[in-house]
Amino acid sequence: MAAERPIAPFGRRLCRVGESHATGGYRIFSLIDEVGPEPAPGQFYMLTAAGDWEGAGGRPFLPRAISVARTSGRKGAVRLDFLIDVVGPGTGRLAGLVHGDGCHLAGPFGQGFSMPKQLNPDAAGAILVGGGIGIAPLAMQRRALTGRGVASRTLLGFRDRAHSGGVEELFGCEETRLAFEDGSSGHTGYVTDLLLRMLDGDDSGRGVVYSCGPPAMLEAVRRICADYSVPVELALESPMACGYGACFGCAVPLVRGGYMRLCVDGPVVRGDEIASAMAGEAGAG
C-alpha cells in the first residue's frame, strides 16, 4: 500500500537555478519549478543542464536521476533543492550550475516513501538510517513525518567529516545521531551499529525503518530489519536512462523472480521485495 503519487507535467521543462553552494564534500543547488507539483519524499527528477550538457568525450549524454532533498513553496512555484555528489561527468556538470543557469527538469518520478502506518498498522514511529548522499531523500521524509506528527529518529553514517555534507543544512536542528568510520566524531564505526543498538533497546515491532545510502549500507540495513522483523523501505539506485518507464534499463531483481523497473516501482522499495540491495552493483547478476 504505497503513498499517493504526484503526477509529473508531461515532458521536460527548463528551470532556473536559484542558488548553489558547497556543503561538506557535496554541492547543493536549487531549481525553481513553476509548473510541477510538490514532490513526495523519495521521488526523484531527471536533470539535464541546459546548453552545455554534453561534455568532453561525448558524455554526459543522458539525463541524470537526482532525488529531491528539500522543497519549499514559493508564490506559484516550488523550490527544489538537490544534493550532489560528484562522481562523474553528469554530477560534475550539475555541481557546476550557478544562480541563473538553466537546467531541464522532468519529474517528479517514481514511488516515494510510505507513511509508517502503511507499512505496519501498529507503527508508532520511524527510524531513518542514511549515509553519504543518501541523506537527501531521508531529509524530505523526516520533514514529512514531522509534519504529520510522526515521531522519528535519525541515524546517519559517514566515512569521514569530508563526506558528511548537507547534514546541518538538511536536518537543521532536528536531532540526528552520527557515526563516522574514521572516528572523527559521534560514534566510531558504522551507522548500522547505531541501528542495532536502537532495535535491541526498542520495542522494534512498533517501528519502521527508512534507509538510503551506499549499497553495502542498504544491504546491511535490509538484513538487520529482516532479522528483527521490522518493516523497512529502502531508496535504491540503478542506472537510469529515462526515469519514466520508457527504457526498461533500471531493472532491479525481485525476490519473487523477474525484475522491477526502479523508476516506476521504486526507487523506494520494501526490504522484502528484493533479494539484495547490492544487485545493481557492477557486474551483479
Binding site: 561525448g58 542506472p239 526498461f248 547478476g285
Partner: protein, 315 residues
Amino acid sequence: MNDPGRSGPAIDLSTDLCGIPLAGPVLNGSGTFDALAARKAFGDELLNDFPFAGFVSKTITVEPRAGNPPHRLWETPSGMINSIGLPNPGLSAFCERDLGPLTELGVPLIVSVMADSAPGFAELVEAVGGRDGVSGIELNVSCPNVHSGLIVGEQPDEITALLESLRGLTDLPLIVKLTPNVANPELIAAAAEAAGADAVSLINTIKATAIDPDSNRSWLGAGGGGLSGPAVRPVALAQVRAVSAAVSIPVVGMGGVTDGSSALEFILAGARVVAVGTENFRDPRAGQVVRDGLEEALHRRGFSSLAEAQASTLS
C-alpha cells in the same frame, strides 16, 4: 503544438505508411516509449498531447520474458548501449491487459513481435492481427531461428521463408525491422519486399559492448548490447539510403533522430517516416520536438509539404 515563434505558413505533414494514415511522419522506435508507463508518470496530459503520429509497441514474444540481468545500460560518446533483453508480458497478457489501453492512445497502433521460429511468428501475427485497433505489425527479426540457428534478419533466404509463411495470415501491413549488423541490409530488404513485406524499418541497434571501468568484466549483465543515439546516425543514414534505393515499399528511418534537421536528413535519404528512440529518454516530448522541428526545417529548405521532400531524390 505549433511553435508560436515559427515563421511561415503551416506545412502539411500528413502522410501514410503502407496504408496506415498518419497525421505526421514521426513514430517512436519500438521499445523506447512505454505509453502505459508514461501515462502513469504523466497522467492524461500525455494523451492530450501524444508525441507520436503512430505508436509502435515494445516487442512482444509468445511467452513472457523477464529480460536481461543488470546492468542493462551504458552511456557512450553521444549514445548509449542497451541490453534490455525484450522483457514483456507475453502474448496473452499483452492482448488481455495492454492492448486495450494502447488502442486508446488516439493514434494508429503498430505491434512489434519477435519469435525464434516461423510457427512462433505465425502465432503472434494471427493473434495480434485478429484484434481490433491494431493497424500494423512490425516483425523484429533479430533473434536466432531455433531451427536453423541463423539470425533471420541476417539472411535473405530466412526472411523470404518467414514472410512467405506469414503473408497469408493477416491483411494488416507487415513491417520488417532490419538489423544493421550485416554487410548489405539492402539485400535483406529486397528479399522482404519480394516476399510480401509492406514496409521495412531500420536501423535497430548496432552490436556493441562496454567494459566495467573498475574490474575485468563486462559492464552489461548480458555481456553485450546494442548501440543507439546520435553516434549511430551516420550509419543509419547510409543504410536507409541504400535500402531506399533498393526497394519500392516505404522505409521507416531511425537511428539518432533528435530534431527536425536530423529527421529531414532521413527523409532526404529516402525514409517515408522517421522514428525517435533514444531521444525519448532525454526528453519525453521528443516526438513533438522532432515533428515541429521538421516543419521548421522543411520551411527553411523551401519545401511546401512533406510529400515534396519525400519525393525529392538525393543526388
